[in-house]
């Protein structure tokens, strides 16, 4: 029996998978200590499934503790040791300003202030030590005097020559027992000092908080008789909670990774391994690409303007959701967002004091949502409030209210299409060969329109649309990534050198996972010498250089339209993943009979039309023909005219255009 628990902004979702079936439950998220909400959701799902805690084999957890701490600045008192002359490495960043024309817009402040940055007397160059490390003792004393709760160590060229970082790490551990020390070559391992330093700072500054949270959660789990949690990392794989506590930077984007993993699982189960996933909630929209059943990854990302130089699932977030507010700008254009009514007060139609027209208000006025059909969490909708607020904006824009409502939806869709273009066409991917997998409370309402805009003719909507992240956690693999910049070219780029580096990294990854037999995958980040961007090429653990070149050139040709056979090839970074497969779950949707059907009027492309409405999840085999609205337990699917399909055996609604 597999348990997955995902902490969201409003609700904590639990999914229990047993005998190929799933039970779900929600509990309010408890921001002061997420573990309370987690245990409440666990108790609720066990009760609903009628199972005992002792029967749970694995417990997987996706959390937002690290993300929230970073966004809210709720961080430990950290110190930074850097090579002397370079202690401002994070403050300087890449020297670009935050906004081109708002000249005083500030970049996020470094996590370590001036007074806790210390210079180490040493220098290492790309080819080795230039000046040995001296003055360790007084340095460590000065660091200790600053009373840090954690220390980050970032020395130049340590990705290749880590001796001085290791030496400082040992000295700090002796002098400051119990204080977390993050060494940049261990945390990140790749070249480019700013990104490595900023990530190492994040790792250090999060560590006390994350450690105490995970300890508390493990204790509560123990008391409840369920296994210790495995934690979702930003890379979409699980790691045991002790390892997660030691390496906070691994789980910074734990939350979105769970959703992406769930989407990939559903896409595979539905027989559509190539899918664009689109998760739209109240305030934001997460998109990602699933290729051959796996979520696309990226070698680095960022959070709130801070770089994170670690491999992670490529989830792109934009601030467009059901709560996004429509407005008229001074040039007379209709705009939607980035301001959002959020969950509180929420859209005007929530009747909690919201007064501005939101996307959800528009969907209600257009008849896609209904006042007599509450949303997830039991929110019922006030049509009059939606009408009033949209009338106001329509008057400003000199539009009919229904045209204005359709406009709000179209402009919001355009924003989400742009997000999907960022993860596809801007990376050289043709979206038309993918299915669109829509989930989250609001995703399935917008799926068909967005698919049409991108030229996609197939959409999917999973039955567990509202708790997909928790499901994803339950079925995820365990995984550990280790990476290092090796910068090999010319004669130094040979099979022996590659194999040796991969073996060493594989050993470290398996050790971190506690699985000496874990499966090993390797990714080689390659470029032509002189380029500053690399292309990731997946290959076995000991590829011949000719093989790497051939595959790199094919990828370069595909991505950029040319290859350059005269240029030298450079292997910049090797990334090794150790994985152990997740629970083997086969979904089969229960047949609870046909949901009740009713009809209502809606507006689509300026025309009134009668819609058939299914109130509940239709069982496998049900034929779906638009125009139709399907009110799933936690989300609503709009099927416009011209779209039709059926419910598959896993309960996923699959639709095609035309």
């Amino acid at each position: 029996m597999v348990l997955g628990v995902d902490v969201g902004g409003t609700f904590t979702d639990a999914v229990l998978v047993y005998d190929g079936r799933i039970a779900t439950a929600k509990a309010p998220t408890t921001p002061h200590d997420q573990s309370e909400g987690v245990m409440a959701a666990v108790a609720a799902v066990l009760e609903r499934a009628g199972r005992r805690a002792e029967a749970i084999d694995t417990f997987a957890h996706g959390m937002t503790v690290a993300t929230n701490a970073l966004l809210e600045g709720n961080l430990a008192r950290a110190a930074l040791i850097a090579t002397e002359g370079f202690t401002d490495v994070v403050a300087l960043g890449r020297q670009n300003r935050a906004h081109l024309y708002r000249l005083c817009a500030a970049r996020p402040a470094p996590l370590v202030p001036d007074e806790r940055r210390f210079g180490a007397a040493e220098r290492t160059g790309p080819n080795g030590v230039l000046a040995s490390l001296t003055g360790i003792e007084p340095l460590v004393r000065r660091v200790a005097d600053s009373e840090p709760e954690a220390v980050a160590v970032v020395l130049l060229h340590s990705y290749r020559h880590p001796a001085h970082e290791l030496e400082l790490g040992r000295a700090l551990s002796e002098a400051l027992p119990g204080i977390h020390v993050s060494l940049s070559h261990e945390v990140v391992g790749t070249f480019r000092e700013y990104e490595r330093a900023a990530t190492t700072e994040v790792d250090a500054a999060l560590s006390p908080l994350l450690r105490s949270y995970l300890r508390r959660l493990a204790e509560r789990a123990g008391e409840a008789g369920i296994p210790r949690p495995a934690i979702m990392q930003s890379n979409g794989g699980l790691i045991d909670s002790d390892a997660a506590a030691r390496h906070p930077s691994w789980t910074v984007l734990s939350g979105p990774a769970g959703g992406a993993a769930g989407a990939a699982f559903v896409a595979r189960a539905a027989g559509a391994p190539d899918a664009l996933c689109f998760d739209m909630g109240g305030t934001s929209c997460d998109v990602c690409v699933v290729d051959q059943g796996a979520v696309q990854e990226q070698s680095a990302g960022e959070i709130d303007g801070r770089p994170l130089g670690l491999p992670m699932l490529a989830v792109h977030t934009v601030g467009a959701g059901g709560g996004s507010i429509g407005w008229r700008d001074p040039g007379g254009a209709l705009r939607v967002g980035p301001h959002s009514a959020g969950a509180d007060p929420g859209p005007a139609c929530y009747g909690r004091g919201g007064t501005e027209p939101t996307v959800t208000d528009a969907n209600l006025l257009l008849g896609y949502l209904a006042p007599d059909s509450p949303l997830a969490g039991g929110v019922s909708l006030d049509l009059d409030a939606a009408e009033r607020t949209i009338h106001g904006l329509a008057d400003e824009l000199e539009l009919e209210p229904l045209a204005c409502a359709e406009g709000i939806v179209r402009v919001a869709n355009a924003e989400m299409v742009r997000a999907l273009r960022v993860v596809t066409v801007e990376r050289g991917i043709d979206p038309r060969r993918y299915a669109l997998l829509a989930f989250g409370g609001a995703g399935p309402l917008h799926a068909a329109a967005i698919a049409s805009e991108l030229g996609i003719d197939r959409i999917m909507c999973p039955r567990a649309s509202g708790v997909l992240a928790a499901l994803g956690l339950g079925v995820s693999q365990r995984r550990r990534d280790v990476q290092r910049s090796v910068l090999l070219s010319g004669e130094r780029l040979n099979s022996d050198a590659i194999t040796a580096a991969v073996e060493e990294l594989a050993g470290r990854a398996r050790e971190a996972l506690g699985e000496p037999q874990a499966h090993i995958d390797a990714v080689y980040e390659l470029r032509y010498r002189g380029q500053a961007f690399e292309l990731p090429i997946a290959a076995g653990p000991s590829p011949a250089p000719e093989e790497l070149r051939r595959r790199f050139e094919a990828a370069h040709q595909e991505r950029y339209g040319y290859r350059d056979p005269e240029q030298q090839l450079e292997l910049v970074t090797i990334r090794v993943s150790a994985t152990v497969p997740g629970a083997d779950v086969e979904l089969s949707a229960a047949d609870d009979g046909q949901p009740p059907r009713t009809r209502r009027e809606a507006t689509l492309h300026g025309e009134r039309l009668g819609l058939e409405v299914l109130r509940g999840a239709p069982p496998p085999g049900t034929e779906i023909v638009g125009p139709m609205v399907i009110e799933l337990p936690e989300s609503t699917l709009l099927v416009p005219p011209g779209w039709s399909g059926a419910v598959d055996a896993t309960g996923t609604i699959q639709l095609g255009a035309g």
């Binding site: 002359g85 370079f86 401002d88 403050a91 300087l92 960043g93 890449r94 020297q95 670009n96 300003r97 935050a98 081109l100 024309y101 708002r102 000249l103 005083c104 817009a105 500030a106 970049r107 160059g125 230039l130 130049l156 060229h157 990705y159 070249f191 480019r192 000092e193 008229r328 700008d329 001074p330 040039g331 007379g332 254009a333 209709l334 705009r335 824009l397 539009l399 359709e406 406009g407 179209r410 402009v411 355009a414 924003e415 742009r418 273009r421 066409v425 801007e426 990376r427 910068l487 032509y528 002189g530 380029q531 500053a532 961007f533 991505r559 950029y560 339209g561 040319y562 005269e566 240029q567």
Partner: protein, 492 residues
Amino acid sequence: MIDPIDLQVLTGALRAICEEMGAVLIRSAHSANIKERRDASTALFDARGQMVMQAEHIPVHLGAMPAAVEAILAEDHAPGRSWVLNDPFRGGTHLPDITVITPIFTGGDLLAFAANRAHHADVGGPTPGSMPADSRTLADEGVVISPRVLDERAIAGLSEQMRQLQQRRADLRAQLAANRAAALRVEELVGRAGRGTVEQAFDEVLDYAERRTRACLLELEDGARCGRDLLEAREGDLEIVLRATVAGDRLTLDFTGTASQHEGNLNCPLAVTRSACYFAVRVLTDPDIPPSAGAYRPVEVIAPEGCLLNARPPAAVVGGNVETSSRVADVILSAFGRALGQGTMNNVVIGSEEVVYYETIGGGQGACPEAEGPSGVHVAMSNTLNTPVEALELEFPLRVIEYALRRGTGGAGRYRGGDGVVRELEATAPLSFSLLTERRRHAPPGAAGGEPGARGRNLLDGRELDPKASGALKPGQRLRIETPGGGGYGAP
């Protein structure tokens, strides 16, 4: 007539096309200038040569792209026939900025142009990097490309006249690929929305940007404001004079009285002066306005021919683009009561016949009426990324000795100006260097009682150099650049 909804949707689509062009260009180019520093811009123009939309990577290209399209507008256009140019007096800015323009046809008729501009690491000037500190005519600065067709033969021919020909070739091909991507997307847009709607959208976006700029200008107080500032030429200071007049929803920027063009390279073609003016207008209005030619219709720029800001051939211009442009923006911002930032890009070129390292260095931003000025950033016409120390040391025979904030250099005030930066480099092989810097003699002023930031300094083994300097570096010699702080705002 397009409704407010279509307007917003199509504006987004056009912006997405420009952004995708930028993504293709930056990812597929070879030189660090384009890839790491993102010294490149992309834009879409209508068939009449009006700039409809631009992806904003670097402000100095903002208003200078239209001149490039204008320069080839009357040529004989055919599908797939692209154009290339860098001549500052025929559509360019300075020689390292090479512009590639591709007409976009649908159904046999010209609909639009895709254009992009990228700063090449070399264009065959006498010094590596083609950013000479002491050029006196355009011919001293590299290969001048008058507008001509860009095909494989032209790519080969042009690259051969420049250093690192493989890189030049790859960069030019990347520029072509970016325009091809844009053409494809515009064709798709026409397929979805229809040619008529797309043409209408072009007009509407221009008008919309114009309306919004006018609305912002209306909020500024009517009347004339004056400003003056100095540029630090080898032969002495050169004065820039401005009279800025707001009259209702219009703005006139009149530089009459500015010094004549000079024998050095601080001269600007008018296109560069316009760019700097549009940058300042964007800062003073609403940056949310789409960057299209419409936004600049209510702005008139006057610079008498033959003056520093509207130079005639064969003036040298390499410093005009990178340095004078910053001062033009400064003089406008100060006329409107702003404290000034470092006011220079601190151009550093170090190289040999084999390698060229070009970098601009951030400094202090001027404080704003309600915020401190950020430290260690690019402040005006540039916003390029630095070259990481580790990347630099891997590729060039250089060692970085120090890279740090230059503490205490921001001007005091109710809000402090930002601090400058120290970047010190040591040669590990014989190299030449060339520095094009400003605000070494005159510090960036504060405003409303705020104090000025500290002036910058250039040091060779501890000996102070001129703002514009060049020479040789022996192994072990150190070049130290200390960039200026920003001015403070309000009495301390």
